[in-house]
């Protein structure tokens, strides 16, 4: 399979202290990592693409490791998500190649991460933005941790590129009060509750 040719990496860290309510004593943080790589399948239909997932594994681990560092260690991470933005000469299916290498890289680094990693993907032009969903790492139904982080770069993805994205968060929405399963009530067996 082809090499992973990296043009650019970008990292974002957000801290929210309040959103009109009381100032949080433990402000939630969210971090995103984006890698802009050449799409080896751009401009043509290629039937057999699965081998590229293996090639993407080191990149997944690199981005996930950086996110864990940015948030202060694996024990701080409570939510995650992933996404892909495919440049206009590629197809949506190319973005789907990120599911396994992106998701399993994060789960490898995080303890008690039984929950499926939520994801979004689309084909887009330079400057397009992707809303990456975030859910609790160990139980998808934890309502306080449902969140989203918007990511994107002004100069990517070019037509023959893909933006591969991982996101992690340290906790619940800053003023979460919509009920549902609470993080402290997780059973933690099936990845759902």
């Amino acid at each position: 399979m082809p090499d992973v040719i990296l043009r650019k990496t970008a990292f974002s860290l957000e801290e929210t202290f309040h959103e009109g309510g009381p100032v949080s004593s433990n402000p939630p943080r969210r971090a995103a990592a984006i890698a802009i790589i050449q799409n080896p399948f751009a401009g043509r239909y290629e039937a057999d693409i699965q081998g590229f997932m293996e090639d993407l594994k080191p990149l997944g681990l690199k981005l996930a490791t950086r996110l864990v560092e940015m948030l202060g260690g694996a024990d701080k991470v409570e939510g995650y998500g992933k996404g892909a933005l495919v440049g206009a000469d590629g197809e949506l299916e190319h973005g789907a190649l990120w599911h396994a290498p992106g998701g399993y890289a994060m789960r490898e680094l995080l303890n008690d991460s039984s929950a499926i990693v939520p994801s979004s993907k689309k084909v887009g032009g330079v400057g397009s933005r992707l809303d990456v969903p975030i859910t609790h790492i160990n139980a998808s139904y934890v309502r306080s941790h449902f969140d989203t982080m918007e990511v994107g770069l002004n100069d990517a993805p070019r037509a023959n590129e893909m933006a591969l994205i991982l996101v992690m968060s340290t906790g619940a929405r800053v003023h979460n009060r919509a009920g549902g399963l609470a993080a402290q009530d997780i059973v933690g067996k099936d990845g759902l509750r």
Partner: protein
């Protein structure tokens, strides 16, 4: 506390390749942005001292965030810039009050020296709008390889009564500079220009 911050975001961009050429070491830019309450939203206030003092606090805070995010020593910073976007209940002059009188001096402490003017931009805006932060060499404004910019935007800011304040710092110039002019290596860095 005068300074009321709702949110802080820090972005780092690393360029490893450009137009098919490897960039080694990668060029790196950081931008740190604070979303703050505008104490003068919705009314005309003659005396903007409060915003000037807020600017001083943010020069330190945001400058330090950038240097930390790049993982460099203050001396390794090469260029900088500052910008503000004011939500619709404020006025453009509020951005000027934050940026110009007092933000620069503490920022220069964070990047060591900083003989050159800090490049700046300002605008009125709304949640999700783009703020382009200009970049110029920190010690010699004529260094042509370091004229650049970095875009920052937050989907949820600035709300009407907020101001988004951004500081950008780099440890490098553009990825493939070749338009001549004064170079980083040949800059004297005394008068802020050459």
């Amino acid at each position: 506390m005068i300074l009321k911050i709702r949110k802080i975001a820090v972005n780092v961009e690393e360029t490893h390749r450009e137009i098919g050429r490897e960039i080694s070491p990668a060029t790196r830019k950081a931008v740190a942005v604070a979303v703050i309450e505008n104490p003068f939203a919705g009314r005309y206030e003659e005396d903007l001292t409060v915003l000037m003092d807020i600017g001083a606090e943010l020069g330190t805070l945001l400058g330090r965030k950038c240097v930390t995010a790049l993982g460099i020593t203050p001396a390794q910073a090469e260029s900088y810039g500052k910008s503000a976007m004011v939500g619709e209940a404020g006025e453009l002059e509020h951005a000027a009050a934050i940026l110009h009188p007092k933000l620069g001096a503490p920022l220069r402490v964070e990047v060591e020296k900083g003989a050159a003017l800090v490049a700046s931009s300002k605008k009125m805006g709304s949640p999700g709008q783009v703020l382009d932060v200009p970049l110029g060499h920190k010690d010699a404004a004529y260094v042509r390889s370091h004229f650049d910019g970095i875009e920052v935007r937050l989907n949820d800011a600035p709300r009407a009564s907020e101001i988004m304040v951004a500081v950008a710092v780099t440890d490098s110039g553009r990825p493939l500079p070749r338009v001549g002019g004064l170079t980083h290596e040949n800059a004297i860095g005394q008068d802020g220009l050459k």
